[in-house]
Symmetry: D2
Subunit: 148 residues, 4 copies
């Protein structure tokens, strides 16, 4: 049986995803969410490729950034990205199945740090992402007892 923190993470993620036209329009799928963690997948479409015939970095970033967003909002406290670093390790190509897993590294006060790893269908690491988050007040879903 899921704990209440797990239920809350799932409810917040479902609400966020249902309103997140960006992640939906890019074909992202929400695979898993837990407190401080989220996993998303996305297929590289032809229109995501750039002049080097590889996936434009913006879409790799977008996938990692969405995983980060779902992970840092999993505590049902509205949180946004303050700054993000991405290191590109290997190119991604049209048709690749990319997965991003984001994991909470630290949370103190209203700030947090999350790492996301983007891999392709062969388990090869495509990019490493580190995001700094900032709570902005409010919750994603209403709860009987509002968090402080």
């Amino acid at each position: 049986m899921p704990t209440s923190t797990q239920r809350l993470a799932e409810q917040a993620a479902q609400k966020m995803f249902s309103e997140d036209r960006a992640s939906q329009s890019l074909g992202m799928r929400l695979l898993d969410v837990r407190p401080g963690y989220a996993k998303l997948a996305m297929t590289v479409r032809p229109e995501m490729t750039n002049g080097h015939a590889t996936c434009h970095g913006g879409f790799i970033f977008a996938l990692a950034d969405s995983a980060f967003a779902f992970a840092c909002n999993s505590h049902n406290l509205r949180t946004v990205a303050a700054g993000c670093l991405i290191d590109f390790l290997a190119p991604a190509y049209e048709g690749d199945e990319l997965t991003a897993e984001a994991t909470e590294q630290a949370r103190a006060g209203r700030s947090g740090v999350y790492d996301a790893v983007v891999t392709n269908q062969n388990g090869q690491r495509i990019a490493l992402f580190r995001g700094r988050s900032r709570q902005v007040g409010g919750t994603i879903v209403e709860t009987p007892h509002e968090p402080a």
Copy 2:
């Protein structure tokens, strides 16, 4: 009359843009390119917004990353992004007209550092971006005298 380095920057940019399905599909417009510099614009579409009703960071990053790509390939030497930092300063909204200007800060050996600033139609700064580039060999367009 444009110098030959300026002509080369324009030719490389036009070739890159014509093959860059990603930047085209996001509705980016190439406004200006010079050696070590590029300026692009993009309108925030409804499907670029996320669960916070603001532009998903991935699209803001994509615009900055494209400006970076056009700036660092403006010397007609094939160059890719190694790593990028983005700091989000203010949210962007549906309908906003975003502009990204990327400027070369340093180039040594095959590496370079470029800064891009993303602003909205009111001149407000939306994001600051810093990218590290890496030449990978080859040119964008053929030249009578190939660069080393």
Copy 3:
């Protein structure tokens, strides 16, 4: 005649520097401070060099970080570093005279972004630094009318 914001920047910097054993022990000199700006210098000592016979990145970072600290505390609001990126462009050597200039790029709410450039005695760029700051409450020096 200096404005009151300039006077405040100077008073805050002098107070901070007098208590900053770290910057003093590294031989840093505070050359200039203005609202949102600071300039410091440091000579690379023999004990600052590493196994590659160049200045250890930690000391180059420390100089840039101090310039950042003086710049972001120049409004007399206690501010600390949240995160920093440094890109190393060229090595520094024993005896080099390094200068770091930090400039405010953005300030919104309690957060800010500052860029610092480290150059050597020949004007060569040694490193580029970008820091994200966070106000923590309180002031550096007391003022007749406390800022909010």
Copy 4:
């Protein structure tokens, strides 16, 4: 019995540390090194504190940067830092015993990405560090069969 890659990591680290006046002058101790990994410790001295009465970020960075340097040179291929991000999570104080552990995240061609975590004597995380490395040619110690 140590493998040859482990022996090489130890020999390279000992040679580097013996020549690294910076790490020595800051009182760093090399606790462990393995291929792609290094662990160092440092005590926060009074002269490492700043105007906020906490350890100057430059010294926390220096410890993480040294762990990064030992980890990325552990393959006995001369490697330097290209760029580094540090996120400060909690302050460190005079007398604190800081430890930095650096771990290889990726290596491709001449580039690599390493993460370092700085903790205090209570196991509290003080800072997260991510460094991008670049091989510059040559080895640290001579070997019967030189690596390519």
